[in-house]
Amino acid sequence: MKIVVCVKHVPDIQSDRSLGPDGRVVRDGGDGTLNELDENAVEAALVLAAAAGESEVVALTVGPAEAADAVRRALQMGADGAVHVLDDAVAGSDVFGTTAVLAAAVRHLDAQGHVDLVLTGMAALDGLTSLLPAALAAELDLPQLTMVAEVAVEDAVVRVRRELDSASEELTAPLPALVSVTDQANSPRYPNFKGIMAARAKPVTVLGLADLGVDPATVGAAGSRTRIVEAAPRPPREDRVLITDDGTAGTQLARYLVDRKLV
């Protein structure tokens, strides 16, 4: 089974994140990481590959030079190889630009050997759009199994369980398919020393838009369907109160809420 797992390099969510004058995420802090939720996707890929035997897991990222760290991490966890789509024309892409590039890269990999499964995280913790998995499934015309807490493949059929706010669902689809996993799906492994050493020898293929036959005008800032016109840090909250309970804090809280007409 050949599995492509989409991984994104994002600013560490523990860091001070900001938007630059162009409205884009500032990515020069050097404190970027593999999007945490994509670790769940890599873990799911490795588990499914091991269960299927005779498998290959390819990590795929679209992003600037630093994004190499994200694929490196996936390789350290155990992915067999990686593709990094690196092209200045991609900068400033919105989700649909990124989707078009990822789709082209998946087709490229498929041409080299049939891709059975495309795995993604449920959301990238920078933009948190959660739009990409469904868009990518539509673009590739694959069955879409998203927000998955449990996934198994048997006899070329993928079977999943997903937990939504209002319901729990079970879905099936024939391979090839696209699956996005939540953080409920598994606990991602930490790369061990052996994994870190092995990753050094693993191939990372760097591709540009020309390699993928993607017209640069359709992606990047030029192809983006949205444009940030204003961005500012939210002003700090004013009139903040911090008290230590002297036995009346509950009463004080009640009065605070009543005074502010919050109850």
């Binding site: 959301a123 990409l132 469904a134 939504l164 369907r225 016109v229 230590t244 509950g250």
Partner: protein, 343 residues
Amino acid sequence: MTEPVTDPATDVPTGPVVVLLDHHTVDGAPRLRPPVLELLTLARGLAASTGSPVHAVAVEPGLAQAAAEELGRYGVARVHDVVLPGADPHLTPVVAEALTAVVRTDDASAVLLASTFENKEVAARLAVLTGAGVVSDATGVTQEDGVVVVSKTVFAGTWTTRCAITTPLAVVLVKANAVPAETVADPTTPQVEPHEVTVSPSALRATLVRRTERAASGRPELAEAQTVVAGGRGTDGDFSPVEELADVLGGAVGATRVATDEGWIGHESQIGQTGVTISPQLYIGAGISGAVHHRGGMQASGTIVAVNTDPESPIFEIADFGIVGDLFTVLPQAAEEIRRLRG
């Protein structure tokens, strides 16, 4: 950074603003969810600036008829009652194709949907099918020089942005509680139009084998509630003080991932980046440290109250009213005092 919304569209789009109706089932009958009324209010504002009407789309059988009168109070001109032969309206690709068909018939200028995980999938496919631009988790939407401009917060509510959608069709996913729902002075009588849509094989590649609806909690839905009381590891599994205060306030109960992972409360109660994103008027967090993953789902709340025994907890950095104290004494006392003040 501020820059004017440049290159105003030469032809200001005047097509209708379309709202996807979300519903829940009350006493066996489909009913509109409260955020839909907020969407209709926003849609009216958007439509009014170009003199276009507001249309609604129902994909659940029976919803269009059941909701028509209420939709009239919110100024809806037409309801597309979508019929999907042989397709399950619970599959989001099916809903996306239904919406695409309506948008094309209507020549719509904008589509508004409630910002839920399911609707994000609907919006993503709709955008791939129509070339529309999408903004999710919006807190406001206006029309400026013929361009749809959306407000949203990013990075766990620490930044506010305004984003222009530059495509002829704008798709906006709006967070609950973005605006108060307002009825119109002169209710309309919406035309209910049956609209049969045959979906493509593409939308039916996955099969829904089983769907189990969660039993209603009797409390407001977490994502929609005006007031949320949430508990974390500090409850040590005893959510009764959290529930008591929520009930006194008529609010929803939420939790951190630690609490849901421990099985103290259902996963659907998890607030945060991998759970529900909330923006109620009032959030009260008890026994919650305020990890960045949790903050990402609640930092946009109106007033934030935190009760925690540890004065160093990061949640105090964002609290409007912080109490260093034990939730097991503070919460019951607050509930008691609110009952007393109400008489």
